[in-house]
Structures are given as C-alpha cells and as structure tokens.
C-alpha cells in the first residue's frame, strides 16, 4: 500500500530537516519539487514492488518478511549511492 498523505509529508519534512543538519546543498529545488519527488518515488515503489520481489531468490522471497526485504533494499541502495 502506498504511503498516506501524512506519511509522505513526514518523509518530505524529515528529509529537509536531515539535509539542513548536514548542510546539504539542495540549490534552487523548491519544496514543491521535493514533495513531488517523494510522491513519485513512492508511486514507483507501489507500482514496481512485485517486480522487486520477483528478482529475489526464492528462499529469500519466501522466508523474508516485507520489512527484511526493505532493509536489504536499503542496504544495496545505500552502498550504491551514499
């Protein structure tokens, strides 16, 4: 299920707070654009969660909870990009 509007707002505000604490340079990206990015990413995950699940080996797919799979995905994304 996609995030609720309130949850998306929490992600949006939380990202800005974290970026502020780290003094990240978000340049001229507006708050509206940032909120659209949160919405679009969540929409994409909603639309593609079955495909993500499908690329996992059967043992992982069948025995891991959704939370564990999400954690694994976060580890891969973090190592790739951060």
């Amino acid at each position: 299920m996609a995030l609720t509007n309130e949850q998306r707002k929490d992600v949006w505000a939380g990202f800005m707070k974290a970026a502020s604490q780290d003094r990240d340079n978000l340049g001229a990206v507006s708050k509206g654009d940032l909120r659209d990015a949160v919405d679009n990413l969540d929409d994409w995950l909603e639309a593609n969660q079955a495909e993500i699940n499908q690329v996992l080996p059967p043992s992982v797919r069948q025995s891991f909870s959704a939370g564990l799979k999400a954690r694994l995905l976060m580890f891969v994304v973090e190592k790739r990009y951060l």
Partner: protein, 175 residues
C-alpha cells in the same frame, strides 16, 4: 534621532522560546583561522511555522518614529530564486497599564525574502514598522519582538525554500 540610527542589536542567545513551535538553537562553524569560530544561530523549519521572542528596550533617545527591523540570515540548503516568508511583531509592556493575562502582540508585519544566490552565504531582510505598528513602544520602554518564518505561506511568492532558515542577528534602526 536620525534615520538609520541604531535602536537595538540582538544576538541569538537572547531568544526566548515560546511555549510551543519554537525555533531550534544551532551553531555555524567558521573554520578559519584556528580555533574555529562557533556562532549561535536559530533554525526555523521549512514545514511548520516557528517563532522566537526577543526582549528589547528602546533607547531613551528614540524619537517615536518608524522602526526598521533587519533580519540577518543564511539558508541551510536553499538558494535563489527560492523565497522565504518572514514576519515580526512587537509587544510593548506599557508601565502602569499592561496586564499579563491580556498582553499580546500588535499585528505582525511580513515580507518575502529571496535566498542568497550562493548556498550558506549571508542574506538580509528588512521589515518596516510605523510607530503604531510597533505597538506604540515608547523611548525607554521594555517589550518583546517576535520573529517567525511562515513556510505555509502560499504567496505569491510562496515560501518555497527547502530546509531551515537560519537567523543570525537582528538589528533595529530608526526608519
């Protein structure tokens, strides 16, 4: 008293947080030369309206005219052409008449300010008050100046700047 003459200067350690929705103390590090300089600032959130109150005393030579409040700031993450919506309001404590239970701020004055074009660099915003708009504060009188950011302001121009508005100093001058 001449136009542009200083009435008050405020550093961020003088801020009194209201009961809720207060700006958060933070510090900015200027690393050269050693030892690093650490300047106290106040962070005003990008998603909810936050406030800070500053006690002030107008000097005895204040002539009773308009007051210009200058807000010195930087942005945590955002640059031009993004905008922030800023506001300020005075509450005069008139001796002999003021009562705690009914004391309140005069109507706030607001201005939109563009973020500096270079991230983390200095910006200034000015808000002009007539003497009445400054709650009729008299020379030598004590009162409170409230400062806030309204990130919910839809404009135009909307407060569309990401991240914190960092308040560094406040200056008050005779208009």
């Amino acid at each position: 008293m001449a136009s542009g003459d200083p009435l008050f200067n405020i550093n961020m350690d003088q801020g009194l947080p209201p009961a809720s929705l207060y700006a958060t103390p933070d510090s900015r590090n200027a690393p050269s030369p050693a030892p690093d300089m650490e300047v106290l600032i106040l962070d005003f959130d990008a998603s909810q309206k936050e406030y800070m109150d500053f006690p002030i005393v107008l000097p005895p030579f204040y002539s009773g005219g308009g007051i210009t409040v200058t807000l010195g700031f930087s942005m945590s993450t955002a640059t031009a052409p993004l905008q922030v919506r800023l506001g300020a309001a005075f509450a005069a404590w008139a001796p002999g008449t003021q009562v705690w239970t009914t004391w309140d701020f005069a109507t706030a004055r607001e201005v939109s300010a563009e973020c500096p074009s270079i991230v983390h660099s200095a910006g200034e915003a000015e808000i002009d008050f007539s003497a009445v708009q400054a709650d009729g504060m008299a020379a030598g009188e004590w009162g409170v100046l409230r400062v806030y950011r309204d990130p919910t302001f839809v404009g135009p121009p909307a407060d569309d700047a990401t991240g914190d508005w960092e308040l560094i100093y406040i200056k008050g001058t005779e208009a």
